[in-house]
């Protein structure tokens, strides 16, 4: 897998490069700004870009804009956005209308190397990786008429993991249950909340996020 990075902090950039290489992933280039990343994308079309949301020169939204641009114009390139802060609205901007091949993670997730590497693989394979913080904030968000109260605690756990982009197998591994059981929970959740069920993982992420956001 060929990966290009844009991250202005040298600590983060080098740490990131090292753990990716340790995991036998091919980091073809690492930049400290969005323009160089864009040139690299046009030039060598990597499989995945990892981009910091705040980049020079203004440290406002250069990274996010680059990510959105890549999603629009180079759909074959998967995009993983890193940020110090997680913002639902920004994640939704990034997703636009599809959660395919896209991730939005808090920077300190990288420290959990194994989970981070699996998120990288998931995104590169066309899945999604949404930071659990976003999902839990959405789940905990108090609603005046809250259909989530109809979910069992287990169903809520499954729903949180599902919304981050975790596959059924991944959910099963984390909750230490069978994939069969996961499938049962998932269809029960969709029934209770009235969300049309979706075939792929990334579509189901989108559906759940849209549902939670409304």
């Amino acid at each position: 897998m060929r990966i290009a990075i844009a991250e202005d902090s040298i600590f983060v950039r080098e740490g990131l490069t090292r753990i990716l290489r340790d995991a036998d992933l091919d980091v073809i280039a690492a930049f400290d700004n969005a323009d160089a990343l864009m040139r690299e994308v046009r030039h060598s079309s990597p499989d995945l870009v990892i981009v910091d949301i705040r980049l020079p020169p203004t440290h406002a939204d250069e990274g996010l804009r680059a990510a959105i641009h890549i999603r629009e114009h180079h759909p074959q390139v998967a995009v993983l956005v890193l940020s110090q802060y997680v913002e639902l609205a920004l994640a939704m901007q990034l997703l636009a209308d599809s959660a395919e091949g896209v991730g939005y993670l808090l920077k300190d997730r990288i420290g959990n190397v194994n989970e981070f590497i699996s998120a990288v693989h998931r995104v590169a394979d066309g899945g999604s990786a949404i930071d659990p913080k976003i999902v839990s904030a959405l789940m905990q968000r108090r609603r005046s008429e809250n259909p989530l109260v109809f979910l069992t605690p287990r169903e809520r756990e499954v729903m949180e993991l599902m919304a981050t982009g975790t596959s059924n197998q991944g959910i099963a591994d984390q909750l230490m249950i069978t994939t069969r059981a996961v499938e049962k929970y998932v269809s029960s959740i969709f029934d209770k909340l009235g969300i049309p069920s979706s075939r792929t993982d990334s579509r189901r992420v989108m559906a759940v996020l849209l549902y939670l956001r409304s």
Partner: protein, 590 residues
Amino acid sequence: MSSSEVAPQVIRTSGAATTLRRPTVRALWLTGLAGVAVVTWFSFLAAASGQLPHPAVGVLVVGWITVPYLVSGLIAWWRRPASRLGPLMLAAGFVTPLALLPFANQQIWLSVGELFEVLPAAIYLHIFLAYPSGRLAGRYERITVLSCYAATLVLTVVKVMLGLSPTNIFAVTVSPVAALRVEQVQFGLICALLLCGAVQLYTRRRILGRPKRRLPALLVDSFGLALVSLAALSIGGIRPWPGIGVVQAITSLAMGLAPVVFLFGLLDMRLARTDVGGLLVELDRDPTLDLQGPLARALHDPSLELAYWLPDQDIWTDQDGHPIELPGPDQRRSIRLIYRNQEPVAALFFDPTLGDEEELLNAVSAAAGIALENGRLRAELRAKLQELQSSRVRALEAGWRERQRLERNLHDGAQQRLVGISIELGSLENRAMADPQLKQRLTRTREEVSASLEELRSIARGIYPAVLSGHGLAVAVESLATSAAVPVRLEVGITERLPEAVEVAAYYIASEALANIGKHAHANTATVRVNRDGDLLVVEVSDDGIGGASITGGSGLRGLRDRAEVLGGRVLITNPAGGGTTIRAEIPCG
């Protein structure tokens, strides 16, 4: 304090800057008597010769024109020595009777009379174009008047020398045909120049507007009329036509009326002077009155403006304390500085026609003396208030810059380093597979780093919401709603970016209002609305709690008001009877 200190000294600063001395009473008498002698003597010469067709009518007409010019000229010279208009009108008074001389029997008088017969036309033109200052303001006006003098004097000398009337002692040769041709050219030229003058009067009125004051306006209109009828008469000099008598009558009437109207102008000044009394009464009734209006009324000039000199700030301001530039001494505005103790206090800008009324300006300035001092103090206070307001804004903005800088430093420094450490620890964990105890300790350390990051993140966010400057109000408000203590309905009707100060204020108002709801309102839900209403950004936060919120109650809500007011906005808090509270902030964002 002596009275001389109270009365401001008035110093003329522009217009006719050279203050000519007022004529002595003797000079006035002598000039007046000389004028009367001239008109009487010339009338006698013309009437006694038997050459005049209707001696009584002729003498009467000349007297009708001459006497008002002499009288108005004397008064103008006496009352307004600074204006050249007085001497000019006196000149007209002396020159007009020369028109009687060509009817004299004595060859010498006749000859002289023929030389100056048409000169009055040029002087009238001069006066009309020079009103009110007595000076010709523009280049075209000077050219017109000079040409007219040349046409009336030089061409007359030429035609007389050519022997227009053979009996003239100045005739050098006798070629009446050539002389007649010269005369035709002369009259045509004079006619054209007079019409030119009328056009200049008209365009001046179009460009500058009618003089702001009523009586001078009437005056200017009568001048235009007189010039046109004089021009018509010049054509009559070339080829007489049937109605010429009527035009002659109208012209004479207008020529005599012009100085009469000018006398009315003088009376207007006296009328205005009675308003100095009105000004004193107004000031007495309300000493804190803003002076511009009363001064304009007292001087009968609605266009009058007042400026104060603030020595501390080294600027001129209007009465509301807004800094202004003094207008340059141009044709449109006259300016006068009012001094006290050698220091400028105030300046008046007014219609130039007022510039001649020296005494009236002195009287009004003196009457306004103390009030002007008060007015200046008020203007100073207002200027300081405005300065305070803008320094408040500057201080607030500097605060934001500093907070933004701190957040940036945290983000780029400590936070990134901690992320780097967390990655390093994570990578070490993977290499410590063989030693479960070490691996566990590394994991715990990494989790501690993560917790520190989380704390740092919330501190940094409290210092300055980076999401706001990076992504705008809509994104930032959604983020607020996600972390609020009660369920929040969001209605955000803006997608565009607004000025930073406005976004920051709106964000903090929403944030503090939501925090307040969480602490005090006992509410089940809240609604945040952010919308544009014309040039206003309206942020409305309402809840269904117990109500009773007020600005005076909690310091949090007072902070909201400060944030809005510093940007010229306001905050309204309503607690309807049915419960709940609505906080509505309106912030200008045009």
